[in-house]
């Protein structure tokens, strides 16, 4: 009797011990994101899609036999909360990879904390900081589709290829430093490529009426306008200009809302340039995204979810290359990464030790085709090498 209880007891102890070691061997990934708050519309879909994909991967048995454990902390777009989240994720949850999907004002504290802990930091869905471009900071990585300076270059190249007459370029930004910086850069670049920048409008974030700003922009009489800012500012400036009777062509960055809004606005003069494929392409990966997110019961429109899936594929591949669930192994794996995105972008996403943005950036341009009643591709994948 005594021996039986002793055997049972030690068996139970052994079971719990092995169970706890099992749990410890998961890849713990921390996320600090603007899940709610005014900026949530841009970042919450990314993280929701990411979570759905990671759950799907775990359902298939995980990576290297281990599950990926996602710990999501909401920072509401506020830097102090992001700092607190970073501290908690790094010190308490002991994550081996930290993800930031929030406003650029949250970057500084998260970067500082992850640097101190020696944990790699991935920007997914949030703007890529300069430190991910070559020569890259050892611990900062970025999988987000848009990237400063390269986007403007690609957009101006596109405008140049399409313009049938000398280009009078209007520029639109939002009153946040990132957008303003990019549009300032675009202004200088436009002069170099022979365009005339006629006006630059900077709109403050939530405005009841974009018409006064659009009036100023329209009065300068541009025939092309390039806008690089959060989707709201881009599209409402465009709509206001159209209402004022402007007939030119407008190029904007294809954020998450682009596919849906092209169908809503139905204006052939609105071009969107982006790095993520549209869901209307109906590739096998798009069907997979639909299935996974339907199972997860996500409330967002499906076309918003490509960015989150890209992040999910990147993380899955990164973890596959990390034999041990440690920060060093993950960093080493990410320093030499090639992710097959299955058509979500123009090609694979490749990271090297010096380049944590990607070795090649691909761009497509779409516009609304009224006769076809659908969005049509105006320019197929153009590859741009990302060098120093």
């Amino acid at each position: 009797m005594k021996r039986q209880t002793l055997a049972l007891f030690s068996a139970a102890l052994f079971a719990t011990a092995s169970a706890s070691t099992q749990a410890q061997s998961a890849y713990v990934v921390g996320v600090t994101a603007a899940m709610t708050g005014p900026a949530a519309g841009t970042y919450a879909p990314v993280i929701d899609a990411l979570k759905a994909y990671i759950d799907h991967v775990n359902g298939r048995g995980g990576v290297n036999g281990r599950p990926i454990q996602l710990v999501i902390a909401d920072d509401q777009g506020e830097p102090s909360r992001a700092a607190a989240n970073a501290k908690k994720l790094l010190n308490q949850d002991r994550v081996v990879l930290l993800i930031n999907s929030s406003l650029s004002s949250t970057y500084a504290p998260v970067v500082a904390d992850s640097k101190r802990a020696g944990v790699p930091l991935l920007f997914a869905g949030s703007a890529c900081p300069k430190e991910t471009y070559p020569p890259a900071d050892p611990l900062q990585f970025c999988s987000t589709a848009f990237g400063a300076t390269f986007d403007s270059r690609a957009a101006l190249d596109f405008i140049k290829s399409q313009a049938k007459e000398p280009v009078r370029l209007g520029l639109a930004a939002m009153a946040i430093p990132l957008s303003r910086g990019e549009i300032d850069f675009a202004e200088g670049l436009s002069r170099q490529v022979g365009m005339t920048p006629v006006d630059k409008q900077i709109t403050p974030p939530p405005t009841p009426d974009y018409t006064p700003f659009a009036t100023k922009l329209k009065d300068a009489n541009p025939n092309w306008v390039w806008a690089w800012s959060p989707w709201i500012s881009q599209v409402r400036t465009f709509e206001a200009m159209r209402r004022l009777g402007w007939n030119g062509q407008y190029v904007a960055w294809a954020h998450l809302n682009a596919e849906e809004d092209l169908a809503r606005i139905k204006d052939p003069g609105l071009f969107v340039i982006g790095s993520n494929a549209f869901f209307s392409d109906d590739l096998p990966i798009h069907a997979e995204i639909r299935a996974v997110t339907h199972r997860a019961n996500l409330k967002h429109p499906v076309s918003f979810l490509a960015e989150g899936f890209v992040a999910g594929l990147v993380i899955e591949t990164a973890m596959k290359g990390a034999a041990q669930p440690t920060a060093q192994a993950v960093t080493a794996s990410m320093n030499n990464l090639k992710v097959d995105l299955k058509g979500l972008r123009g090609g694979p996403l490749e990271w090297t030790k010096d380049n944590h943005f990607r070795t090649r950036q691909y761009y497509r341009v779409w516009r609304w085709d009224a006769s076809a009643g659908a969005a049509r591709r105006v320019q197929d994948w153009v590859a741009v090498d990302v060098k120093q």
């Binding site: 519309g41 009153a175 939530p206 009426d209 700003f213 809503r264």
Partner: protein, 290 residues
């Protein structure tokens, strides 16, 4: 000319929102800082009625207006009624807290994604040509029309109808009005209903114009200086204040720098507070009655 049109539209937006502040303050001496959120709630109400009255847009619009008025009565009955008699600051803080609660509930119920009621209603937004090359869209024109209608209606109501006169009496002297047999609770509930009605109209039109999301709340705060500049207890003042603020904002955008657009209303407000704190048409005693 386009500038004048822009000013008119912006002034109408501010005026519609400001008259809500004024009605509540004039009647019950409470500054409702939840007005931006109530505006947003009115717009979400439209979204709800669109789903309810699928295919009959006009019914949806009317039902939304009715819903907005009912919300005002509920806000009064559930919260503000208990704050009457307490310190004014406490009542203001209660409205701030209410605004926070409503914002949280809105995200919980409807989520953070942007919505497009105009597309959902199946309506179009055509543009009209005006003399001198100016253009105005249909919804912008209806904003101006709604503002004029609301103010004309409120003036007539307060001046000629029995309930309007009772409301003015309650605003001037609650004690005497109560002794005269006027039910103060009903008057205050009516004031809140009118405020949420006009605010909700503004919210709905704004949502139809651009889109429905959480950022609308900030616009409510920007309209607040319009009410103060004109005088917190004067409707005519609210209209004039809205015009002044809108003019300042559009002219600054046009000729100085678009980045100051957010801060111009508050600079004008500050200037007014320094020079004439009770506003253009406000009554002077308001200053000390806090």
């Amino acid at each position: 000319m386009q500038t004048a049109v822009n000013i008119a539209v912006l002034a109408s937006i501010y005026a519609l929102i400001a008259c809500g502040y004024v009605i509540v303050y004039r009647t019950s001496r409470v500054l409702s800082l939840a007005h931006g959120e109530l505006m947003m709630l009115g717009a979400f109400g439209l979204w709800v009625t669109i789903a309810m009255f699928d295919g009959v847009p006009l019914a949806a619009a009317l039902a939304a207006l009715l819903l907005a008025a009912v919300v005002g009565v509920v806000v009064y009955a559930a919260l503000m009624r208990r704050m009457t008699g307490q310190a004014v600051l406490a009542a203001v803080l209660a409205t701030i807290a209410l605004g926070i609660l409503l914002r949280g509930l809105a995200v919980l119920i409807w989520g953070p994604t942007e919505r497009h009621p105009l597309a959902a209603l199946g309506w179009d937004n055509p543009v009209f040509e005006l003399p001198a090359g100016a253009r105005i869209s249909a919804i912008d024109a209806s904003l101006v029309g709604a503002a004029i209608l609301c103010y004309a209606g409120l003036f007539a109501f307060l001046r000629f109808s029995p309930w309007g006169i009772r409301m003015r009496a309650a605003g001037q002297s609650p004690l005497l009005a109560a002794q005269r047999g006027i039910s103060l609770h009903v008057i205050y509930a009516l004031a809140w209903a009118l405020a949420t009605l006009t605010g909700g109209t503004a919210g709905m039109l704004l949502a139809l114009n651009t889109a429905l999301d959480q950022t609308m709340v900030v616009i409510g705060l920007k309209a607040f200086p319009a009410a103060l500049v004109g005088g917190l207890d004067s409707l005519a003042g609210a209209m004039l204040g809205a015009l002044i603020i809108a003019t300042a904002e559009v002219l600054v955008i046009q000729f100085v720098s678009p980045l100051l657009a957010d801060v111009v209303p508050f600079i004008v407000l500050l200037a007014m507070l320094i020079v004439r704190p009770w506003g253009l048409f406000g009554t002077r005693e308001e200053l000390d009655r806090v």
